[in-house]
Each structure stands twice: as structure tokens, then as C-alpha cells.
Amino acid sequence: MKSILVGLLAMMLVSGNALADKIRIGTEGAYPPFNMIGKDGKPAGFDVDIAKALCEKMGTDCAFVTQDWDGIIPGLLAGKYDAIVASMSITEERMRAVDFTNKYYSNSLRFIVKKGTDIDTGNLKGMSVGAQRATIAANHAESIEGAKAKLYDTQENAYLDLSSGRIDVLVTDMLPGYDWLKSEQGQDYQFIGKTIDIDDKIGIAVRKGDGKLRDRLNKAITEIIKDGTYATINSKYFPFSVY
């Protein structure tokens, strides 16, 4: 009887460990080229490739969970997944709610307008400025004096309204903006003004107190940079380093 109990207990511990070692990654799936739903219906993109490389380095299985952007932190806190790899900027506000790893890439903001529009980015008074809700770009759009900020649920909807002319200027993270300008939909548009350096570092969010997972992720980030995995993934998406 006793040995059966011990056996059961051992099994529970083993399976408990196996479960604990599967890391669930939350991502948005609507932010190309960083995270999007690929042709096969699975998450793909820079974030996803990085997350897969990290999981491989940590020797764990990873499962991806897609979640709308403005519910992505609440979802982490509610335990629907263990880490957010979704191009999330490390900000003080967010650090009150979650912990971040070291950066895995850096970002800056740019303005996008239709080609041929002459706009002084220093003076956007009276203009409609679009951005995705709950992002750094949105904070920036809302902080522009005299401009009317319009906030969208997804970056794609913001692009749609830029092409319909409802917004004059789009504030966007530079790298996804760069990717969009290269696409067919974006060919009539261009960056204007200077790069807005906002000291924007992108990290992986974990629940507060989940220091063990954060340390493992940090170690894995250092490792993939050192062994060239990072550079390979980087060059798949951008001809310049984004670290």
C-alpha cells in the first residue's frame, strides 16, 4: 500500500515537473513582421523565432498563446501564459505590473505619411495622428500638442485608416513600419521626419516574482546572441542589426 502511494506521489511529482517545464508564451499575432499568424495558421515572425530559439536554449517545450494586445498583460497576470514575447517595450508603467528580462531588440518611433504629403513633423497642430492603442506610439501620439490622436485596436486597422486618409500621420514603431513600407499596401507611403529616439528597449514580460523564469530567459538571450542564432534570425527580417 505504502509503495503504491509513494509511486503515485513520485508520478505526480514527475508529471508536475514536466508540466511546469512547458512554457506558455503569449503573443499578439497581429504585428508583422514581429508576430503574426503565418500561412499555416500558427504564430510566426521575429518574436516567435526568438522565443523558439530561447526555448531551445533552455531545453523546454514552448506553446504559443495568441491574445489581443490590450488584454495581453492582464492575460499574463491571470496565468493564461507565463511570458509575453510580443515586441513589448520595457516601460516604468508596465514594470509596476510585470517584470521584464533584458532587451532582445531596440526600437524607435517614426512618422509615416502618404508619399508627396508635405508635413512638418514639428508642427502637427490640428492633424489626426493615428497609433495602436496601449502602445508607446499611442503615448507619443497623445502627447503631440494640438493634434487629435486616434487609437486603433490593431496596427493593421491603423494602416487601413492611413490609406483611407482618415488620419494624416501614423506614429509607429520603426521596424514594423519599415516592413509595411516594403509591402504592396505600403508602397505609396514613406517615413518622414527624424527618428524619434525614445530609448525604447523591447523585453520579455513575466509575472512579478517569477524571477527564476526571468533569469533563465536572460541567460538564453545572452547565449543566442553569442552563438550567432540571433544574427541569423535578425538577418531573416532586417538588413541591419536591431539589437
Partner: protein
Amino acid sequence: MSWNWEVIFSSLPKLLEGTLLTLELVVISLLVGAVLSIPLALMRTSANPLIRGIPLGYTFFFRGTPLLVQLFLFYYGLAQFDAVRESIFWPYLREAYWCALIVFTLNTTAYTTEILRGAIQAVPNGEIEAAQSIGMSRALMFRRITLPLAYRIALPAYSNEIILMLKGSALASTITLLDLTGMARTIIARTYMPIEIFFAAGCIYLLLTFIFVQLYRLFERRMLRHQAARTSDASATS
């Protein structure tokens, strides 16, 4: 988790601002819908299959697709066509406010039309025959007999439509409008306190529904007072 009352109180002014936009969208679309649904319901009850078919196609589409899909098609979809952007309507269609208002109106008109259609058909035949027998014209009969009776029959079902419209208006937030839900989501983006803010927004919706149900009950009691008299007579005699 720790519950933060302070963020609820400090967000209240913004949430009430959003509530005003919600009310504006809902009240205007309901009023316009109530008017537009009368001729449409009449057409729906016509004996001519062609006249009957046109509003049927319209109500079939608007009752058969989600409001969100209608909003997206109208707001993001239409705007992709150059012809639309160059048309005289663009100054209006450009604004999310007008798009929401138009879609909400079309949506609620479709439902109201069907509610009214059912009610018109449920008007007792005897009343119609009585009107005909004293030689009332069709227009007069419709105005004096059919429509008033149909409205009384439709009243209880229509209150549901109003409540559904109030809640459905939350979708305005998906096309950049800062209605109650849109405002709540924008505040959440800054504070990361979704539970508190959605709780507050939910309370406001509940309060709106409560006030509306009370007012509607008074209105219904007045409109249906002949029935109330009948039921109290019945209980008095039994």
C-alpha cells in the same frame, strides 16, 4: 489582488464623458430607427411580393450578420474605395462618429422593422374589419387603428431591442470612438487596471439599463393601461 478604488474615482469624469457619447449614439440611432421602421414594416406586410422583398433583403442582411462585421465593413471597408473617398459623402463617412451612427441606425431599424411587422400582422382581424365596415380609407385606418394597436403589441419586444442596442454600442470603441467602452479601454491602457475600470464601466451600463427599464415601465403602463384595467377587473371579480 489589491482592489484600487482610487483609480475608479479618478477615472469617473472620463468615463462619464464616454457615457455621454454612448447615449448620444444610442438615442439618435433608436429615434431614427423608430421612424424609418414604419414605412419598412408597412412594405414588409404588403401583398405585393416585390414590395415585400426589398425590405426583407435589408433586414435579412442586418439581422443575419454581427454588428461588428457591419461596422468594420462600413468603416474600414468602404473607405478603401476611391469612389467613396471622392464622393460628396466622404466628409461624413470619414468620421468614425457618423459611421457608427449610420451602422447603428441601419442595424436597429432592421430589428425594429421586424418587430413592428410582427405586431402589424398580429392586430386582430376584427378591428380591421370594423374599420373597413364603417368605410375608413386605408390611410386613415392605418393611422387610427393598425399602427396604434401594433405599437401596443410591439412595446414589450421593443424594450429588448433598446437594451441590446445600448450594449451593442460598445463596439463603437473598435473604430476609434471614445464611447464608454472606448474610454474604459484607453484608461486601462494607461493604468493597467482592467478589472477596476471595466467594473466601473459595467456599473454605468447597468445603471443606464436600470433607469431605462424603470422609465419604460412607466411608459408601458400608460400605453397599455386598458390592459391593466382589464387584469385588475378580472382580479377584482374573482
